[in-house]
C-alpha cells in the first residue's frame, strides 16, 4: 500500500485558541490544558511578551549603537517562546539555539548574562545549571541531541523532569535533528522537540527544506507531533503542557511545530530586503502575537490603563537594566584566554601561557637578563 504525501487537512490544521482578531477559539482537545489560565495568568503572559519584545528592541538598538557585536532578533516569535517556556518547571532543562532569548528570560537569566555572548564578552552567557538552560547553540541542530541525551539521563535517574529543545525550520534538514528523533523514539526519552517554524532560514524559505508541513516528519520516527499557531501564546502553552505531561508520565517524546514568523532580519548583520517580499511581512504583521492577546484581554476588560501602564513600566525597567548591564560589563583580561580549556593541568597550554605572559610583560619592562631567565 503506497503511503503518500497528499495533504491531510485534519493533520495539518493549526491548534489555535486565540484567533488573530483576539477572539477566544474553543478546541475539543486543548482547552482543558489551559482551563486554569485565568485573567491574571493571561495578563502575566501579556507582560512577558511585551517585556521580551522590549528586550529584543533594546538589544537591536544596542547593536546599532555599537554596544553589541551582533543580535539575532526574535521579533514576531514572542508567543511561541513565552507560551512554551512558561509551561516548564524549574527542573526541566532547555537546549536552545541562538534565537531563544525570550525563553532564557523565562528561565530567569540575568539580563547582563543575556548580553554577554552578543557583546563578545563570552562564549556562553550564563551558568547552565543556574537556570537549567544550556548556552546558546550556533551549530544548527546540535543541541537536539544534547536534549535527547539529557532526557536519557532523566530516564536513568527515574526522574520526571523533561528536556526541551528549541530549533528552527531550517534545522530540520540537519542529520543531527533526525538522529535525535531516532534516539528519542528508540528510548522513549522525555524530550520535547519544539520547532519554531519562522518560515525562513536566513534567506531560504521553508519550502526549500520541506515540501510538506514539518509536523508530519516526527510520526514517521514514531513520535507524536502537533502543529500549533505559533503566534497564539495560549495555544503554545496548551500544546507544550500536553507534551510535558506525556513526557513526565512515561509517554516519551513529542514534536511541536509552532508556525510563526521572523519579522526582523536573520541577525542584525542580515538584509532581508535582498530575498523577501514586503507583502509577506505585512500579512504576518496582521497576525502579531502581542496584538492578538491584547485583543483578547481588551475584549474581556483585562487591559485597563493601569495594567497597560504597569506592563510598560516593567518593560522600561527591564530595558534600562539590560542596557546598563550591557554597557558596564567589565572587559576581560588577557589571561582569561587560557582559562578553562581543560579542567586539569595541561603542559602544552601552560607553556604557551607562560610564553605569552612573558611576551606581554616585555612591553612593560625592558627584557630581563637572559642568564637570570635561563636559571628558571
Amino acid at each position: 500500500m503506497l503511503l503518500n504525501n497528499e495533504a491531510d487537512a485534519a493533520q495539518d490544521e493549526l491548534v489555535q485558541l486565540i484567533a488573530p482578531n483576539g477572539e477566544r477559539r474553543h478546541h475539543p482537545v486543548y482547552d482543558r490544558w489551559v482551563a486554569d489560565v485565568d485573567g491574571e495568568a493571561l495578563q502575566a503572559l501579556y507582560r512577558d511578551m511585551v517585556v521580551i519584545r522590549r528586550i529584543d528592541a533594546e538589544a537591536t538598538a544596542l547593536q546599532r549603537q555599537g554596544e553589541l557585536a551582533l543580535w539575532p532578533p526574535f521579533l514576531g516569535q514572542e508567543a511561541a517562546q513565552i507560551g512554551s517556556a512558561r509551561a516548564l518547571r524549574e527542573d526541566d532543562f532547555v537546549f536552545s539555539s541562538y534565537r531563544e532569548s525570550g525563553v532564557a528570560y523565562c528561565r530567569g537569566v540575568d539580563l547582563t548574562d543575556l548580553m554577554r555572548v552578543w557583546r563578545g564578552n563570552a562564549s556562553a552567557g550564563w551558568d547552565p545549571f543556574a537556570i537549567n538552560m544550556a548556552p546558546t547553540q550556533v551549530i544548527i541542530g546540535a543541541q537536539t541531541l544534547h536534549a535527547t541525551g539529557y532526557a536519557m539521563g532523566i530516564l536513568h535517574d527515574g526522574a520526571d523532569s523533561v528536556a526541551v529543545t528549541y530549533f528552527g525550520d531550517g534545522a530540520t534538514s540537519q542529520g543531527d535533528v533526525n538522529e535525535a528523533m531516532v534516539f528519542a523514539a528508540s528510548y522513549q526519552a522525555p524530550v520535547i522537540f519544539f520547532c519554531q517554524n519562522n518560515q525562513w532560514a536566513i534567506s531560504e524559505p521553508v519550502r526549500l527544506q520541506a515540501h510538506v508541513p514539518i509536523a508530519r516528519r516526527a510520526p514517521g520516527f514514531g513520535i507524536p507531533s502537533v502543529r500549533v499557531d505559533g503566534n497564539d501564546v495560549l495555544a503554545c502553552l496548551a500544546v507544550t503542557r500536553e507534551a510535558l505531561d506525556r513526557a513526565r508520565t512515561g509517554g516519551g517524546p513529542t514534536f511541536i511545530e509552532a508556525v510563526t514568523y521572523r519579522m526582523g532580519p536573520h541577525t542584525t548583520a542580515d538584509d532581508p530586503t535582498r530575498y523577501r517580499d514586503a507583502n509577506e511581512l505585512e500579512d504576518w504583521a496582521a497576525k502579531d502575537p502581542i496584538a492578538r492577546l491584547a485583543g483578547l484581554l481588551d475584549a474581556e476588560g483585562l487591559l485597563p490603563a493601569e495594567v497597560s501602564d504597569s506592563v510598560q513600566a516593567s518593560a522600561d525597567d527591564v530595558a534600562a537594566r539590560l542596557r546598563e548591564g550591557c554597557i558596564s560589563m567589565p572587559e576581560p583580561a588577557a589571561q582569561d584566554v587560557f582559562k578553562h580549556v581543560y579542567s586539569e593541568p595541561n603542559s602544552w597550554l601552560e607553556r604557551q601561557q607562560d610564553q605569552y605572559e612573558r611576551y606581554l610583560a616585555s612591553f612593560e619592562s625592558p627584557v630581563s637578563d637572559s642568564s637570570e631567565e635561563a636559571s628558571r
Binding site: 557585536a69 550556533v138 584566554v337 580549556v341 597550554l349 610564553q355 605569552y356 637572559s370 642568564s371 628558571r376
Partner: protein, 335 residues
C-alpha cells in the same frame, strides 16, 4: 587590469569558470538570491539560473554528499561552506568519500569538487565563525588544500581549483574580503600551476612563511623589521597541501632562519609540518630551530579576546627576534 575587492575577485573567477564550462555548478546555503552571507556569489544565480547556482537545504553533509553524486554524473560542483565552523558535519563525506574515491576506483571516478571555505578570525564574530581548520585537511591524503591572500591569486586560483580534477579545499581569509587589489582578468590560468609558493618580499636574514589572512600582516612585519635592520623574506605558500617546499627550502638555505605564522592552534598545526620538513631538508643550513608564531591551543575565544589569540605584527616580530637568537621575552626558555 581592474581594481576589485577580494570577494569580488572570487566572484569574477566563479563567473568565468561557469561561462567556460556548463558542468560547473555552485551549491550552498544562501548562495542564490542572497549571494551568500559574504556576497561572494552575488548576482550569479540571477545570471546563470537556480540550476547552476543551487540554494541547498541546511545540511552540510547533504551538500557534500550530493556534490559527490553530481561529480559521479560528470559535474564539477563548487560547494560553499558558509563559515569554517560549519564544515564539520561534512567531514565524513569529505575525508571518507571526496578524498578517497579517485584512489579506491583506480582513477575511474574523478572528484573535481571545489570546497570554498571562508576561514579565520578577526571579524568579531561569535563562536564557530572564526575557525582555522586547514590542518585537518592537509593531513587528509587525497585532498589538495590552497589558501589565497590577494585578489589576483583569488581570481586565478578559484578557476584553477575548479579546472582541476582533484578535490580541493579553497580557504578564503574572510577578514580580507574587503581588501582591494589589481586583478588582471586576461591572465591564462593554465599558464601556471596552482602549487607554487610566492616570495612576497625578498630578504636575507630570516624566512617568514605564512598563507591566507596573515600574508598582509607578515608583509607589514617585514617592513617593520627592515626599519630595525633585519631583512625578512616573506613567503606566501598559496598551496598548503602539497606545500612547495622547494621554494621554502631555497629561502632557508639562504637565510638559515625560519619563522612560520598561522592563526590555527600551534600543536599539530601546519607550522609543525613546515618546521619538520624544512628541518629535514635544511638541517645543516639552519642557524636556529624553526620558530612558530600561532594561535594558542585553545578553542577560538570570544571576540573581545581574539586579538590575544591571533598572531599580530608584534608577535611575529617577537618570533623573528627569537629566530635571530636575539634576547627577548623568551630568551633562555628554548634551545
Amino acid at each position: 587590469m581592474a581594481t576589485m575587492t577580494f570577494g569580488r575577485a572570487i566572484n569574477a573567477g566563479l563567473r568565468r569558470a561557469m561561462e567556460n564550462d556548463p558542468k560547473v555548478v555552485l551549491m550552498g546555503e544562501d548562495i542564490g538570491k542572497l549571494g551568500g552571507v559574504f556576497r561572494v556569489t552575488d548576482g550569479l544565480q540571477k545570471d546563470f539560473g537556480p540550476h547552476r547556482v543551487v540554494d541547498t537545504p541546511l545540511a552540510e553533509s547533504g551538500i557534500m554528499g550530493t556534490a559527490v553524486g553530481m561529480a559521479y554524473r560528470g559535474y564539477r560542483p563548487v560547494v560553499e561552506i558558509q563559515f569554517d565552523g560549519f564544515i564539520y558535519p561534512a567531514f565524513d563525506q569529505i575525508v571518507c568519500q571526496v578524498a578517497k574515491l579517485h584512489y579506491r576506483t583506480q582513477g575511474n571516478v574523478k572528484m573535481p569538487i571545489t570546497i570554498r571555505v571562508p576561514f579565520g578570525g578577526g571579524i568579531g564574530s561569535p563562536e564557530h565563525h572564526s575557525e582555522s581548520p586547514e590542518a585537518y585537511f592537509t593531513h587528509t591524503s587525497g585532498l589538495r588544500v590552497v589558501s589565497v591572500s590577494n585578489p589576483q591569486d583569488a581570481y586565478v586560483m578559484i578557476q584553477q581549483a575548479i579546472a582541476s580534477n582533484d578535490p580541493i579545499l579553497y580557504f578564503e581569509p574572510k577578514r580580507r574580503y574587503h581588501l582591494k587589489g589589481e586583478v588582471d582578468e586576461s591572465v591564462d590560468i593554465t599558464a601556471t600551476g596552482m602549487g607554487a609558493a610566492r616570495v612576497v618580499t625578498e630578504g636575507s636574514d630570516v624566512t617568514l612563511v605564512t598563507y591566507g589572512p596573515l600574508v598582509p600582516t607578515a608583509r607589514d612585519a617585514a617592513v617593520a623589521a627592515s626599519d630595525d635592520g633585519v631583512s625578512v623574506e616573506v613567503i606566501d605558500l598559496r598551496s598548503l597541501a602539497p606545500i612547495d617546499f622547494a621554494t621554502v627550502e631555497k629561502s632557508v638555505r639562504k637565510t638559515g632562519r625560519l619563522v612560520i605564522t598561522h592563526e590555527a592552534a600551534q600543536s599539530g598545526g601546519l607550522g609543525a609540518e613546515i618546521a619538520a620538513s624544512i628541518t629535514e631538508r635544511c638541517f645543516y643550513y639552519l642557524e636556529h630551530a624553526p620558530v612558530r608564531v600561532t594561535g594558542f591551543d585553545i578553542p577560538y575565544p570570544y571576540s573581545k579576546l581574539e586579538f590575544h589569540h591571533l598572531p599580530d605584527l608584534d608577535r611575529i616580530l617577537d618570533g623573528v627576534d627569537r629566530a635571530l637568537g636575539r634576547p627577548n621575552s623568551l630568551s633562555g626558555l628554548e634551545g
